[in-house]
Each structure stands twice: as C-alpha cells, then as structure tokens.
Amino acid sequence: MQEIERHPNEQRLSDSIPVIAPGHTFASVTDKISAIVLTHRTPIGWFIGAGIAFALTMLLFVAVAYLILKGTGIWGINIPIAWAFAITNFVWWIGIGHAGTLISAILLLLRQRWRTSINRFAEAMTLFAVACAGLFPVIHLGRPWLFYWLLPYPNTMSIWPNFRSPLMWDVFAVSTYATVSLLFWYVGLIPDLATLRDRARHRFGQIVYGMLALGWRGSAIHWNRYETASLLLAGLATPLVVSVHTVVSFDFSIAILPGWHTTIFPPYFVAGAIYSGFAMVLTIAIPLRKFYGLEDFITERHLRNMAKIMLATGLIVGYGYTIEAFMAWYSSNTFEEFMIKNRMTGPYAPSYWSLILCNIIVPQLLWFRRVRGSVPGLFILSLVVNTGMWLERFIIIVTSLHRDFLPSSWGMFRPTFWDWATYIGTLGLFTALLFLFIRFLPMISIFEMRTLLPRTETGEHSAAPERRPA
C-alpha cells in the first residue's frame, strides 16, 4: 500500500472524535465491510425492508403504467397549475442527488478525509436519486413516448430542439450529471470490486465481481491511473454540482411568472440541494450504521460535520426566502407583492409556514453541540429538512402558478391518489435500489478506509467507543 501522506491539519481534524474508531487493522476493515456483502446469511431485516421497498416500487410501476395508459390527467394538475407533484419531485430528487457528488468530488478536492466512509453510499444515493428524478421529466410529458424529441438528434425533419428553453438545458445538465456521477462512483468501486472478487467464495460471485473489477490487480500503475482518473472526474464533477441545480433553477427563473422570475434562484437552489442532500445522507447513514454496526466507520464526527454543513446551507436557504420576500416588497410590483402575500396568507399558507418551520426554524437547533451530538436528534432533523425541502419546491411551483396575473384564471391544485402513488413509488424505488446496493456492493470504500488506519493508530484514543464484535 502506498505511503500515507500526513496532512498538516491532521492534528486539528482529529482533535475531537476520530473518523475511524481505534483498534482497526487493514484486515479488520476489509473483513467488516466485505462481510456484509459476501455473507451467506442475509439479515432478515434486509428482507423485510427490501420487501416493503419493492412493494412500493411496484406501486410506482402501476402508477406509471396507468399514467401512460390514460394520460397526465390522472394527476391533479390543471390549467393554471400545469406542473405540480411531478416537477416538485423532480427538483427534490435532483437536490438530494447533490450530496453524493459534493462529498466525493468537492470534499476530495478539499482533502476533507472524513468524507471517506460516507462517500460511497452517498454517491450511490446520488445515482439512485438522479434516477428517480430523471423519471419525472419523462413521465410528466403529455406524450412521454416522444421524450427523445428534447434531444438534439439528427432527424429527417431537420428540427432541432429549442435551445432557448431551460427544459432543453435540463436535459443536458441532468444527463451529464448522471453520467459523470455514475462514472465517478464506478471508478471508485473498482479496487473494492477486486477485493470482493478475491474474497468471494462462490464461483458466481468471483465471475461477476471479476468482470466488474475490470482486471484490477492493485499494481502501482493501476493505482496511479486510478488516482488520476478519480481526480479528473472529481474536477469534472465539481462544476456539475453547481451547474445542475443552477440549470434546474432556470426552469423557473427564466419564466415570467411572479415567484419564479427571480435572480436569486441559482445559488439558493444549489444551497437547498446540498441542504437536502446532506439531510438525506443522514437519513440513510444513521439507520445503516446502527443496523450493520458500522459506528466505527461512520462515527459521530461524520454526523456532526454533516450537521454543520446542513446548518450552513440551511442558513443560505433562509437567506433566499428572505430575499424573495424583500424583493417582492422592494420591487413594488403588484404581482410580486401579491405573490408573496398569497404565499404567506393564501390557501397554501399552511404549507408555506410548515416549510419555514422545517427548513428555517427547526434546523436552528443545530447550533447546539448537544443536538449535533445526538444521533436520534439528527435523524429526526434530517427527516424534517427533507420534508421542508420537498415543501419548498411544492410552494415555489404551485403557489406561483395557482394565482398569477389574471384573477379570472386562478385555480387550485389537489393531489390525487396517483400523484401520491407516483411520489411514494419513487421513494420505494430509491429505497429498493439502496437495499440492493448495500447487499451486493461495499457500502463503504474499503481501500479508502484502510488509508485512514495509520492515522487512527497514531492519534489520540480519547473518545474511543466500545468495540463491537464484527
């Protein structure tokens, strides 16, 4: 193994809780992580959880099949609210998909080594979230089978898509993001796949992992290329983290609708995306470390750091809300003023105030060290933030549309069974993919964890938690 470079900030970084619990060796790390995948005894809990997730995925399939059979009219959308749940879900999922790449790429470039134990499943989460997100722009179309008309493919009609349309930019932004995220995740998996190949006791596992490992032998030249590739990909992915949600925010800010037409949207959307992304990482990491006994690898240090990022991005989002209201007043534009007033006091006011509660007020608890240190507290907070971020997109989309310029065409939106079924169905799909992922792939990067080891041996042993049997 290569020599581990000592980071100058190491002393400060590890002054509280270590990023890996003491007492681990290379073998124990490898054993612990690969055993989850290579075990013969799949925990019964996995079957229960995966069963529920698969059932919900089936609900999604039914909802989508019915949608394609009947049309988007099965949802509660109408004129004027031509977008509602589908686009809300799209933006929400895309936002969630931000954390993974941010953790992998930006924190890698910033040499935040604590990211190591969470980046793998955060990246997986990104991919699955982007898959769920990508579903919505396609199925929300009136004629989804023609979705490829949004792509600039050569055709006999010589018709290009409209490059002025932000929906067109979306296609590029999301598909690029999905591609780079997938590559990044997969490249990062290769050394671990090789480990699994070597440790698999079944022929089938050896073949499958062997094929996926692309002939990785761990030679120096492999490591050299690996490091180059992952740095390059990290460099590519970093601007994408910012660009994808910026472009998604253009879906709204390009329009002339009060409540959409705002210049603050790009930064505010990106911050919101990171906010919800970290919330989702927490939502997943906390039960996972508990269930698989991974407290040694995903330590409280990780949770605290993520809580701090959430607090920071949450404050940016709060600033966004404030600026929205301020600009509505400052512009003294009738329509803008009415829009913000209607948000706060109109028929969707309960949703708006719950959003403020979830996204602004409750997360202020994160200022307290005790809250940041409380695992159940963080779990609940992450759920609250996820809900709040979903509400934020709902509020932006629906309350802006439902009362715009001419009072004669005001209307309301009420979700139907199928709206909920599609949304909950994607939650099912997301969870089901996660279940498959933790069962068949190492959810924590084995080789990267091993790079942390010497550090833990030399570091302090202050708050070492009790070791659990593997």
Partner: protein
C-alpha cells in the same frame, strides 16, 4: 376495412351530393337502395363489376366476397404457404429489410377512393359551400348560412341578409349543429319502447283517425310548440278543417304569454313590438334581457352596440337603465342598474308611468331609490321620441301594457317602437292552452294526442300533473328529436328531423319568412312535423319539400299573408303518385354562395345548381311547370333559397294606440303585495340549455353561463345578503379551486307542497329576498350528457305562477354539492385588467386607459424587432360592445373542433375553451358594475410561451401569429405556465370523442383533431387566413380588409371583435388600435399582445350619484 371502404364509397355516392337531398332520384333510405342496386347488378349477371361498385358487391354478399371473408386474406396471400422457393425467399427478405428500416410506418390498408363519376356542379372537394337556411327557435327564426363540406354541414354562420341575424348568431344556433350530430338523438320509430316502422305507425294512427272522423275529431288534440312556420300553420288549419272538432294547443315552457296578453290589454288586439335601438338615446329595460334572448335579440344587440361605439370623433352614446331581479347580460352592460324584487319592479314601473303622466298607472308608492328614479324620469322626459321602455317576457301583462302606454306617452311609438301583427301563426296564451288540454285529458275527452316537438312531460308546470293525465289518453304520439321523457309516456315515438335535415319555413321576429333548406339527408329514419301532419291529413307520401314548395307556390305573391292555406285541391290534381311526384319536383337548394371569402358577393351571377342529378332523372324544372306563372315561381323560389329570406315577407307596420283606459290594474295578488321577508322564487330559462331542449348538447352544457360561470348544473341564485340571512354559503374547494370545484350548500325549496333540493349560488347584484332558478335541468331521459344534471325547477313551477312563485319555503339541508365553475374569482384585485371610465371622463381624457399602468416604452430589447413586411394579423376587442353573450365561445368551439370535457373535468379545472369570457365585478357587492372580457390568445409578439418550449412546438410565424404545432408538442405544459393570460388548454386526457361515428362528419376538416397530451390554443382561425390567402394569391392581390373573419368575430352580434391586418393602416382593426381607448392587457410585461382591448366607456347619468355603499368581499 371492408366496412370503411363501403362507407367511403357510399358517402361519395350518397351524402356527397346528398346534401342537396333532392338531387338524386334515390329514396332517402340510402343504404337500402345501394343494397338493392348492387343486388340487382349481381342478379343481372354482372359478374365482373367495375372498380366503382366493388365494395357494394361485397355488401351484396357475392360469392367472391363470401369466399374472401372466409379466407380472411386475399387470394395471393395463400401463396405464402407454398414451400420456400428462392424467389419467395428473396421476396421475404427484401420485405423484411424494408420493414426493418421503417418500423415507425404503419402499413396502410388498401382503400380505394373513388372520384365523383359525375361531380355535382359547383362542388369542388375541399372547398366549402354555404347554404342559406334558418333556425326556428323560441317562436321566431334566425337566418343562417351553413357551411357545408362535401355534403356535411360543419359550421353555422349568420345570414347577413336576414333581418334577425345580420350575419351574427347566438349560442343556440351555433350549438344546434351538435344537436344534429348528437349520437343520442332518437333514430327509429318506437312503439311502446320497441323499434317499429313508419308504416306500422301510419296503419295505427290511420285507424285512430278513421274512428275520429265520425265525431269530427272531437277526441283529437294536437300539441305543438310555438308555430312560426307558414306551411305548418296551413297544414294545421287543414287538419282542423278536416276535423272541425279537433283542437290545436301550443305550449313552450319559455313562452311569451305575458307579452301577448300585455299587448291585448294595451291595444285590444295581439300586437308584437319591434324595437329600433338605433333611434333610442335613453332606454329603460324592465327585467328584459333583450341583448341575449328573445326574438330579434341579435339585431337588437347590434343596433344597441352601434350606439355605444364612442370615439374621439363621435363621443356620444346611448344610456341604458335596467331594473331587474336576476342579473343578466343586459343588466351587466347597463349604465345604471337597479336590482329590485318583482313587486318592487311593478311599483317602480307604475311610478314611472305616473310621473310621466300615463293615466292608467294607478297609485304607486314612492320608489326607495328616489334619486335614481327622478333622474330616470327626467332623462326619459328629455328624450321624448328618442327613448324606449322595453319589458321582459317574464313580467306580468300589466307591466307590458303599462310600458306600451309609457312609450306612447313619450312619443316613442313609430320612432323607437313599431308594431306588427304577431309572427306566431296563432298567438295564444300558451299556459292557458296547456291547462285546457290537461283538463280535457283529465276528463278523458282526448283520445288521440299528437305532440309535435317539445317535451311537455318535463317542461309542464308540476301542478298540471301532465304526465299522469297524459296516460289517460288512449293513443299518444310524440314527434321529437330525442326519445325523451314525453316519448317514454307515449305509445308512438317518431324521430323528428333536425332543421338541418328537412325542408320547412319559418318567420323571423319581424315576420320575414325564410325557407329552411336541409343541408344533409336525414341521418336517421326521421320525419318532419310537415310529413307527420301530411300523413294525418291523408297525404302520407308527401315530402316536406313538396309541402313547403306547394305552400309557397300558392302564396308567393303575398308572402306576408299570415293565414294563407295550403293549396289542397291543386295538390291533389297535380300529383300523380308519390314516386313520380318526387321525381318531378326535385330541385336543388340554391346555393347562396360558394366562396368563404365573400359569401354574398357572387350570388347574383350564380345560378342554382339544377341538373347534377344522375342522367336518368327528367329535367326537373321544366318538366312539371310549363306555365309562365311557374317560371315566376321558380325564380321566386330560387331567389328565396339563395337569399335565405323571402322578399317582402316582413309584416307591415301597424299604427296602434294604446287605449290607456283599458289598461286596468291586474288583480293577481302580485301587485302591491309586499312579501316582506318571504322569499320569492323566479323562474328563468337557462342561459345555455334554455328550457331543457339543449340538455344533451355538450357544448351548451359546458358553456360557462355569462354571469355565474357555472357549467353542467343549475343552482338557486341569490344575493349575498339573502344568503347571509338564510345562513348558506359556498366555498372554493382545493380541487380545481376558483377555476373548478365550488362547494355549495344545498337548500330545499318548497312551494305548494312540492320541493326540490338545489345548490346555492351567490350572485352579486341579485335582488334581495328572491331566488332565481333556471329551467331545463333535472332531466332523466335527455341523453348521456343531460341525464341527471342539475335539478328540475319545473317541479316548483305552477301554471298560475309561471315566472314568479311568491312565498317559497327554504330549508337548509346541511349537505353540500360540487358545482363546476370556470371563474369564481370576480375581483380584479386592483389590477388594470378591464379599464373603464364614464363617458364624461372619456370626453375629458380620451387616453384614460393608459394612465394607471406603467406602459413599456417602444422598444426595450437587446435584439432588433422583427419586421413584418407582409401581413401582421391582429385583433381588437371593444369591451364597450361585449355583452358576454358567449356566441363567440361556441362559434370557436364549433370551428376549431374543441372537445367537451365533461363536468368531472371542469371540476378539476380543465375546461378546454380556447376563447373564454372573463367576468369581473367592481363596486358594491349588492349592485356591482359588471365587465366582460373575451380572452382569446393574445398572439404576443414577444410570446413567453415560445421561449420555453423545448421542442419548438409553439413558434412565431412571419405574420405575427403565435403558432401551435400539435404534431410537435410533447406536452411539457411549460408554455401554459409561462403564459400570463393562461389561454392555453391542455389535453390532460383523451378529451376528443374519437369513437362516435356520428360526430366525425361534424368536425371541421381544416382543423386538426387534437389527441391526448397535446397543448392547444386559439389560432386566430389560421385556416380562415390561409383560405383567404389562397383566394387572394389566385387573383394576384393582397387580402382585403374584412376578408378574413375569425369564427368569434363572425358570430359576435355586437361587432365587438374585429380582426385584420394591422400593417394595413386603412383596415378596421388598425383604426381601432389607433383609438385612444385601445390598450394591451398586461402590456407592462412586454409581451406586446396582438389582441388588444378598447377600454369600456359607460354613460352614467351625472344626476345619479354613484357611490358604492359596500365594498366587495
């Protein structure tokens, strides 16, 4: 495939020229005749028929065809079973390769199209033809020009030469097209609910008539609706001549009894007033919705609106005062409107009469609104001879009589009011007529009852107990368009021909007669009232065509003669036999014009198409009529058909004097009785489905009512304070919201022991302490669209209180009901949407419409403006003229194949109208000012929708149209989100009815039928623009102003909508856009809308202080 091929062929052969029904010498049962013809050919041994008859042979069940059916595939197909040969293999591979390369292409089945063997003269496929006809409705006819495409009527326009239309149409005329094609129309003769035949009917009714002959028809009763057809009237008189003891009753739920009796009271004879709004400076409408309903309303609306078209050059306009209980369109455009209860209205009119010195006015209490009242009286006095009092048909006769007296006192007679004899063939008090019939049925004196049209079982007032009494009649016959509630209780039901399917004639509000020409062969085995009556008078084989033509042959020299008789003797002599007769008298309906661009321009040069019949037929015109008189008649006939009006048939004006002394105060208990806080119930015809006859018409059911914007239901309308007093309310539901579902409290209305449950609807400006219910709903055998919609107000109606039921009891039920409303929010929220000013303000500041909004400067863009070198289409809508009558909405729906989505979808906020009419209120909630604003697509020059469409499905064209490319649309709906006017409509589901075969021929072939998942919107009737463009390019010129008329513009009675080329500065639209009143809606968004509005100008009396007392909610 075979079936469709057959249809195609038979259509070419039959309905192609068959719109001119008599062109062909084939009986109307087209299918049977084809069968017979084909069978005959086969029998003759015509073993190898030519291509043309191929599909008919299939139908005729030849051995070849049977073999083919048996084998499923054509003969060559069997060769696939042969062992694989090299040649076959290559064949297959070649085909596979070809198919692999074009998987997206479906293989089209081989279908043979057949050209006209002998094309009917003047018919060019793809070119519309226009035929003049008329629609009889509500006791008068409206002249129409009907657009026909390859033999199918597809669009109804007004006839500019017809005095009741002047080119405009109302919603009923527009929507009658859908009734023609309604798949729920009755299709066969029914006997006791079973399918029967016309000949079986003739047998049974003939026997019944024979038995009546002994008693001179003492047991025979005919019940019709209001008859304005001279031929039908003559036939009825002939029947009564043959059966002197028989009786003819007339009844319509929406009748004009009060006007007839009122005129009788005033003049001692039935007289019909004609109003001359062009001469009226001051108008007082007493509960009269003269702008949107009643005979002549289209003309009245036009003349009224012409006097309100103010400009800087012509800054004067008329002034309209309205007193009414139920807000209606006329009240909405009034300069002064006063909501009054019925008793107060009577008192008010009395007081006006007394103040103006009408002797018979009697004592009247001082009206509450003294200032209003005295200003009105002064205004009327100052405009003697230039004022007008007009009274609604629902007002009691005494008020009508009093109004006649007031008009006379003011010297308006002959100036703004003229009188003619009633246009009804027999003006009777219809409620009395029905009451007599019901009494006789009860007494068992009616043995044979023939109901010609109408649906009395549903529409008769409940106290007459019509349904129960009907069952006491021994033999009951009903002729009707639908197998409806009345048919259910009759022995025989005969399907009635639609007016677009059969010959008839009818008189308009001023007596002008029109020949009603059919546009298409009867779609079903239907009969017209003429044919049924002919059968009763012993001429069962006479067609409507013969009857109408014979009548006019006898009377054409005196077309305004009301009591002319059928030339019976002459007929008997002239007609040899039915078949022969048909052959001899066939002629073609004269074409009025065949160009869309200038419908009336080339009529003079056009000769009616005559000999396009198959060559076997005798030369039709010359054969039967050699005498010069016949030539005269032939000219008359063709001219009348061509023009759509019979020249000189308008009734002569009469000079009458209201004998004031005869006008005595009525003693009907309604007079001065103040009901205090008890609730008065008012019955009104529904603004869209009328008395229920249009209940199955989806276009009308889904048409938002002008003021309530309700669809698919009726409701108990009441004022806000009455609702508060009753403790009832309505709330916006989250489903669809203000543009969808409204939860209304349900109340139970009881009157004379009968009760119905009705949802509540609060109408600002409704008179307090009264509730309006609309007739026509609550039908149970209307058809798929009309069944179960709304509640039946007729249950509460009694024959003594047709329009007003005093002292109705109200009970809250605690239930709620979902009403489908397309615009609930009526407040403009302080936005400058409809801009309005008083005439005074306009005169002082003509540019008032531009002051309150920050308007964009000429050019605020980084990019250069596009230069429109050729045409630049634009529209101007005069908000001062719009009366919210909705004719444009239905015209647009008919022209552009806009689907009906149904109540459930309207509840969800998905109504599809491309053109909507927004209604806003301003001022006090108990009596607000009302504004209508028609909203088509704005065709913004900087259209927000275009930028955001990812697939370029909505783009701008070189003439400034915002074009929607349906084929390209994938349905992201972003365009709608970004449209500040929200004029785009999305096919959330498959709204278009693709399955009903009868609806297919109705659709405009020039407009795509949109499927699910596609956005659509107003196109400025681009198909009409293209049509005009082709015409102009053929003549190497540009399109003239007025050559392109959009569907909404064509229908508009008040000429509020003007369309044209704004690059042509002499065009009407360009001139309107140069008006200081012209403004762009939401122009501050820099959309540069091509549709602009002319701000409304009201003409309030400066003497009346107009301060709103209560703020709007």
């Amino acid at each position: 495939m075979e079936e469709s091929a057959h249809q195609k062929n038979s259509k070419h052969r039959q309905t192609g020229p068959g719109k001119n029904l008599p062109v062909l010498n084939v009986p109307s049962e087209s299918h049977r005749s084809i069968l017979n013809l084909a069978a005959r050919r086969v029998q003759r041994g015509n073993a190898s028929p030519d291509e043309y008859w191929r599909s008919l042979d299939e139908l005729a069940d030849t051995p070849e065809f049977r073999a083919m059916l048996h084998r499923e595939f054509p003969p060559a197909a069997s060769e696939w079973n042969d062992p694989l040969s090299r040649r076959r293999f290559l064949h297959l591979m070649g085909a596979s390769l070809a198919l692999a390369g074009m998987t997206a292409c479906t293989q089209q089945p081989a279908e043979y199209i057949v050209p006209y063997v002998k094309p009917p003269e003047g018919i060019i496929p793809g070119k519309p033809q226009y035929y003049a006809t008329a629609m009889p409705f509500g006791g008068a006819a409206t002249g129409l020009l009907v657009e026909s495409r390859e033999g199918r009527p597809i669009k109804i326009e007004g006839n500019p030469d017809h005095p009741a239309s002047l080119g405009a149409t109302d919603i009923f005329a527009q929507a009658s097209l859908l009734t023609l094609y309604d798949p729920d129309r009755s299709q066969t003769v029914n006997y006791l609910g079973e399918i029967s035949t016309w000949s079986a009917f003739l047998g049974e009714v003939g026997a019944a008539l024979e038995s009546q002959r002994g008693t001179q028809g003492a047991g025979l009763r005919i019940l019709t609706e209001t008859v304005v057809s001279p031929t039908l009237a003559a036939q009825l008189r002939e029947l009564l001549r043959q059966f002197p003891a028989a009786k003819w009753h007339q009844y319509e739920a929406v009748n004009r009894d009060n006007a007839i009796v009122g005129a009788q009271l005033a003049f001692g004879q039935p007289m019909t007033p004609l109003y001359r709004f062009e001469n009226a400076d001051v108008i007082l409408a007493v509960d009269s919705d003269f702008l949107s309903c009643g005979p002549g309303s289209l003309r009245y609306a036009r003349e009224f609106a012409r006097r309100r078209r103010v400009s800087t050059e012509q800054p004067l306009m008329n002034r309209l005062y309205v007193i009414e209980s139920t807000p209606n369109s006329t009240g909405a455009v009034a300069d002064h409107r006063l909501p009054l209860r019925p008793a107060e209205i009577e008192n008010f009119v009395r007081a006006v009469a007394a103040a103006l010195g009408v002797p018979s006015a009697g004592a009247a209490a001082r009206p509450d609104n003294q200032e209003w009242f005295s200003a009105l009286v002064r205004d009327l006095q100052n405009h003697r001879g230039r004022s007008l009092i007009i009274v609604g048909d629902e007002q009691p006769p005494f008020i009508h009589a009093l109004a006649h007296a007031i008009n006379q006192t003011l010297g308006n007679n002959g100036q703004t009011v003229q009188f003619i004899d009633p246009v009804e063939a027999s003006p009777v008090e219809q409620m009395q007529s029905l009451r007599e019939l019901a009494g006789e049925m009860e007494a068992g004196r009616v043995e044979l009852l023939i109901i010609l049209g109408g649906n009395p079982v549903h529409t008769a007032p409940a106290d007459l107990n019509f349904a129960a009494r009907l069952s006491k009649v021994r033999l009951r016959v009903h002729l009707g368009l639908y197998n409806d509630e009345t048919s259910e209780l009759c022995h025989w039901h005969i399907p009635e021909s639609h007016y677009l399917e059969s010959w008839s004639d009818a008189r308009a509000f001023d007596g002008t007669a029109s020949i009603i020409q059919p546009l298409i062969l009867p779609l079903y085995q239907s009969k017209s009232a003429h044919e049924l009556l002919a059968a009763l008078t012993g001429q069962p084989d006479r067609s409507s065509y013969d009857l109408v033509r014979d009548y006019w042959k006898a009377n054409y020299r005196n077309p305004s003669n009301k009591t002319a008789a059928l030339p019976v003797a002459q007929n008997a002599g002239a007609v040899g036999g039915a078949a022969n007769n048909r052959a001899q008298t066939t002629a073609i309906p004269a074409q009025s014009a065949n160009a869309v661009t200038a419908p009336k321009a080339n009529t003079s040069t056009q000769t009616p198409v005559t000999a396009s019949t198959p060559s076997a037929s005798p030369a039709p015109v010359a054969a039967g009529s050699p005498s010069p008189a016949s030539d005269d008649f032939e000219k008359f006939w063709r001219k009348s058909l061509n023009d759509g009006v019979i020249a000189g048939s308008a009734f002569p004006l009469k000079t009458v004097t209201a004998a004031s002394s005869q006008i005595s105060s009525p003693n009907n208990g309604l007079r001065t009785t103040d009901y205090g806080h008890s609730i008065t119930l008012l019955f009104r015809p529904d603004p869209a489905i009328y008395d229920g006859r249009f209940a199955n018409n989806g276009w009308l059911q889904e048409l938002p009512r002008p003021l309530t914007k309700l669809t698919w239901d009726n409701a108990a309308l009441m004022s806000p304070s009455t609702a508060t007093r009753l403790g009832v309310d309505y709330r916006v539901s989250s489903r669809g919201g203000e543009r969808g579902e409204i939860h209304a409290d349900v109340i139970e209305l009881s009157y004379q022991g009968r009760s119905v449950r009705a949802p509540v609807w609060i109408v600002p400006g409704h008179a307090d302490n009264c509730i309006t219910v609309h007739l026509g709903y609550g039908r149970w055998r209307a058809g798929r669209a009309g069944n179960g919609a709304g509640f039946n107000a007729n249950v509460l109606r009694s024959s003594d209180h047709q329009w007003t039921a005093p002292g109705v009891e109200i009970k809250r039920t605690g239930d709620t009901y979902q009403l489908a409303c397309t615009q609930f929010h009526y407040n403009m929220e302080g936005r400058e949407i409809v801009r309005a000013a008083s005439l005074d303000e306009f005169q002082r500041n003509p540019k008032f419409a531009h002051e309150k909004v920050e308007e964009p400067t000429a050019h605020e863009s980084l990019y250069p403006e596009y230069e429109y070198k050729g045409y630049a289409w634009g529209m101007a809508i005069d908000l001062n003229s719009c009366t919210g009558c909705n004719a444009c909405v239905i015209a647009c729906q008919a022209e552009n194949n806009i689907p009906v989505v149904g109540r459930e979808q309207v509840l969800r906020g998905r109504a599809m109208h491309w053109l909507r009419i927004d209604r806003y209120y301003k001022g006090a909630v108990h009596n607000p000012e009302t504004f209508f604003q028609p909203l088509p697509c704005m065709h913004c020059e900087k259209a927000p929708c275009e930028v955001v469409c990812p697939v370029n499905a909505t783009v701008h064209d070189t003439e400034g149209l915002n074009v929607m490319v349906y084929n390209r649309c994938v349905g992201t709906r972003y365009c709608s989100n970004n449209c500040p006017y929200k004029v785009r409509r999305f096919n959330f589901l498959l709204y278009q009815d693709w399955d009903s075969p009868s609806l297919r021929p109705m659709r405009n072939p020039e407009v795509s039928v949109r499927s699910r998942g596609v956005m659509e919107k107003c196109t400025y009737c681009v198909q009409r623009i293209q049509h005009a463009k082709i015409e102009s390019e053929k003549e190497n010129r540009t399109i003239r102003d007025g050559e392109v008329v959009t569907a909404c513009q064509a229908a508009c009675p008040t000429e509020a909508i003007v369309f044209g080329n704004i690059n042509d500065h002499s065009s009407q639209v360009a001139k309107l856009k140069a008006s200081p009143r012209n403004y762009g809606l939401l122009a501050e968004l820099q959309t540069q809308p091509r549709t602009t509005y002319l701000a409304a100008v009201r003409n309030p009396n400066p003497e009346i202080n107009h301060t709103p007392q209560e703020a709007m909610k």
